[in-house]
């Protein structure tokens, strides 16, 4: 049994980790920390867990995380980097669901996240936890930087094109739409039901923190810098990200075959038949990413459609997938979930 600790379990990625790990046959959930809610039974805060999880929040100071085999950080940005060095030193493997170790260029990270990095020397050793490009490294990783939600949806759709060098890379466009849970479980007016409901808007057009992460991933695939315009939007649903990407064709190809081959052996990437439109609900609650590729009217612009559940493949599910890989388990353990539809 893998002894698991979770730091910060009161947000949506935390409760989603609990949902997934509660039925994981190889996991023993040892501790889940919360400074504010220490002593409170987890299932009191999240009644959905009643009967599935008999555990209370522990104060971080008495959590004994160093006795765990792996610790997940489901915390705001800037927390994991405070504790990672000590955990690694104790032989604990770390999966950070926040952004602390996602960007290899420290200066870029510090600019976009507005703080100094607490352990810049650990960044180079962190493995970006997107299994579809990094499976072998994840297997050996002590420290995994779990990708952001938008970056997962956008990269999985664009990477096959960039790896194959078939599209122009100076003017890629990613128009992404997220459900409101992507903004987290924070007491903020802008994400109230009466503000975000029956409403649609773009935000962060001037610059969103996921932009450098996506650009880094796309550059890795293209093996050179890329130009990207990324516009996130808030859409009145709870879960789900739908990303629509636009890329100009450089060389012609059998686009459907390209995607099908690239992801033929991936358990969690589903390339839909030609002409399809993935719906976010078709992945609700599951770790799947569904992708479709279109070339409207045979023109020179490709349109890629990509749908994930932001809390699963975009956060907690991908973290469990990474854990499965790290500990040599079948990758789909506890993740063979049929999406909830309707």
């Amino acid at each position: 049994m893998i002894k698991v600790g979770i730091v910060g379990g009161t947000g949506y990625t935390g409760v989603e980790l609990l949902r997934l790990l509660a039925t994981h046959p190889q996991v023993e959930l040892k501790v889940i920390t919360s400074r504010a809610d220490a002593g409170t039974p987890v299932s009191q805060m999240f009644p959905s867990l009643r009967g599935h999880l008999d555990l209370s929040f522990t104060h971080p100071d008495s959590a004994h995380l160093d006795k765990c085999d792996v610790v997940f950080f489901a915390t705001p940005n800037g927390i994991a980097m405070q504790q990672t060095r000590e955990l690694l030193a104790a032989g604990v493997r770390v999966i950070d669901l926040a952004a602390d170790f996602r960007i290899q260029d420290v200066a870029v990270w510090e600019k976009w996240y507005g703080m100094s990095h607490a352990c810049p020397d650990l960044i180079a050793g962190a493995v970006y936890g997107l299994p579809e490009i990094n499976r072998a490294k994840i297997k050996e990783a002590q420290l995994v930087a779990n990708p952001g939600c938008y970056p997962t949806a956008v990269q999985l759709a664009l990477i096959p094109l960039l790896e194959a060098g078939l599209v122009e890379t100076s003017n890629l466009i990613a128009d992404a739409k997220s459900g409101v849970s992507g903004a987290g479980r924070k007491a903020e007016v802008g994400i109230l039901f009466s503000e975000a409901g029956d409403n649609f808007k773009a935000y962060g057009v001037a610059g969103h923190r996921h932009l450098p992460e996506i650009r880094q991933g796309l550059a890795r695939a293209a093996q050179h810098e890329v130009g990207l315009t990324f516009v996130p939007h808030l859409t009145p649903m709870i879960r789900g990200i739908h990303a629509t990407m636009y890329a100009r064709i450089k060389k012609d190809a059998d686009w459907q075959a390209l995607f099908e081959q690239r992801y033929a052996n991936e358990p969690f990437v589903d390339v839909l038949p030609a002409g399809s439109h993935p719906e976010t609900r078709s992945v609700r609650g599951s770790n799947k990413c569904r992708i479709a590729v279109h070339r409207p009217q045979g023109g020179d612009t490709l349109v890629l459609l990509s749908a994930i559940d932001n809390l699963v493949k975009g956060a907690a599910g991908q973290a469990v997938q990474n854990m499965n890989i790290m500990f040599g388990l079948p990758e789909t353990t506890a993740l063979n979930i049929v999406p909830l539809l309707p």
Copy 2:
């Protein structure tokens, strides 16, 4: 392995059965019928099932349902009764998710459902599939009448009171609120997103088909006829039923203890701590019914709150629970689902 057939798999209870059975370790899904969509892969109609179910709809005429161990009817009312006699004769056990065998009094059934019953002689032998009152009979049943969604939510909350004879039974009130999926997957204007969204209304106040079913169940528990006012409402959510019941106290009791004891051994009924308010999302996607009992201001009116997922405990999940009982499997097989929250 239990050989399973499903008649009518294109509605919400059908796709929900598929979601649950797709991961059932003891089930072999042999056939799913649809007259209109014969030949279509199920996962084409419901992309959520891609990768989980490799089966196409079969025309009823070539379905060979008589080779199954059990057949579920996820059909409109009036279909199951046409085929049940033949299936039973072939030794196939039948679970009807519609209403054909729920009402023991044929005349009452024919009045509320507006048709003649095709096999009134089979009704007496049908077992009402509410495990919390009928577990032993379900185990032996050849024909199970799976309860309606409202009746499940209302009965589970009122039965402990009626069995104990502690409340007045002449003026019970059940004010129930359903998500829109309860109306089915039918092309009707009234349940369009733009009609049912951001809107709330009562319907069927003059009389709803679930009224006689609930009354029958309550009478069984009370061992005499009861008076019930039942008002259903449509609420702008996809899944979930919340029922609020009002009953006048006849004899005082420890209400919290009464409920906890009645359901102490029930895997799918969760009596919440005193003072709680069950939320529908706390059971989303799961087979749980969560119940709370209140006595506001110490007055003479009890308020019972009950929440289920109408497609699971209110339909497909309860049907699988019944199947598990009928075939001697652990009752929670394939139903140990952590609700999807948020």
Copy 3:
């Protein structure tokens, strides 16, 4: 022109007042106060007002409210009572949209609202601003206590029965469902989109502050104390209250006629034809209350259905209606709004 001031314009009742007053032909909006947002253009906080309102928030200390003809308080409970005496002394009429002057019994108010009343001597002179029962007094009032949202919906449906003495009054039941905007524009986790969306729950079953207000109003109509069980629920829509009331018949009557006659001359109460079910969207954005009366299966329980927009007839619209009455204007001025459907 009526010179109008608004105290506390950053909540939902405040912005709704602005929406209504912006097109009121007899109103000159002089000042709107906000401590936190002084100096900010109102239309910057609420872009819906761009082009309709050219006004910035003023700090309360420099608001010169005493120069107004009428001041609306769209503030949390406990604010209006701090400033009312001074305003009345200056000859300013006051309409409080909060609860400070709704309850005549100070002890009851202090118990339910958990604070000492700042000016108990003013309460007796405050007029409860429900025009359908108090029109003449409102006309002369210096201080109007604008009714709560639930109390408006519940009282309008029950009052005709109580005035006529036709139902039992010891066990009235009001099962009410509110849209989320009823909880205000506050940064609280429980009303986030991802918490309140696709979810339904009861709350405050042990006791809600609107209970004594409703009880007071019903007692006034019945001319004796009444027994009431009141259960509010949160439903995933933005605006709207739907209340379902249950009352046992004492003497038979033509219920439809009773309601139609009681409200024959009311511009904002619409008694629907027999058999109807009012929808909240049928009053969205308007000051209407739509009511239907049912007697299911000819039994001894009446079911009353009542729908209002909680922010209009349940708050700001009723406040404008009261202002129109107080200043001798046609009652429907600025309120002749066709509901927004769909």
Copy 4:
């Protein structure tokens, strides 16, 4: 008074026309036709209109539309073209809210709409009813082709750039998101609450009927053909369109000033301050289009954001605006509506 007739009043654009015209001081609503619902009071189908409209649906055969001054067609595509010749001959002016007269090239129209045009000779004389480009012609028009919802949102945002010749026109991108009411009030499974709710998807990527209409309008502004990729999406809200446009800069300019000047005198186009993100709810129920222009990170791609209410500026409101222009009324008559927020 303008005598108005409406053909096809049972859809969302029809009821929205009624909402707007019910309070129009210069309009006498003479007749509204419906083949299926002749004789039914309009307010029975749409209870929101109770008290505002005392009119029943009339069978088309007895509608005497030729006695009207203007007739609106709120019908499916292909109906208006059957009756327009006769009405024009009778001196009746016609505003078609459907697509029959929007495309000047008949062959293009017939290809995209899949039918033969009934009166191709009338197309040249039809005026495209986008007041912001065609006000003078609309004033004289006998036949107005009211623009589509997507085309309105996209054109208003791109036209200033194209008229000024400042962006590359070979690869424009319009990523548009519509509320579900845009799909009409039709009994179709795909727009049920339980299908379209809590879900997001693209549709019609291969080609949507609004593509040629938008391309025609952009070409008119650019004075040459343009290349456009247009991807519509369905978002779980009732009303609203949000369009996000991407254009590569050819010559630098003061983009904010460009837009502000272009629309300085337009009553219904609101250019937001630099850095803004228009929300669909900020125009809910109103005829406004709110636009923002961004140049992320000072790169070579402009991002335009545009929000309208698809049923108002995208349909019925624009039609009333056109009528006001045609009949010499102040353009904002009956359209000075404060958006409903929240």
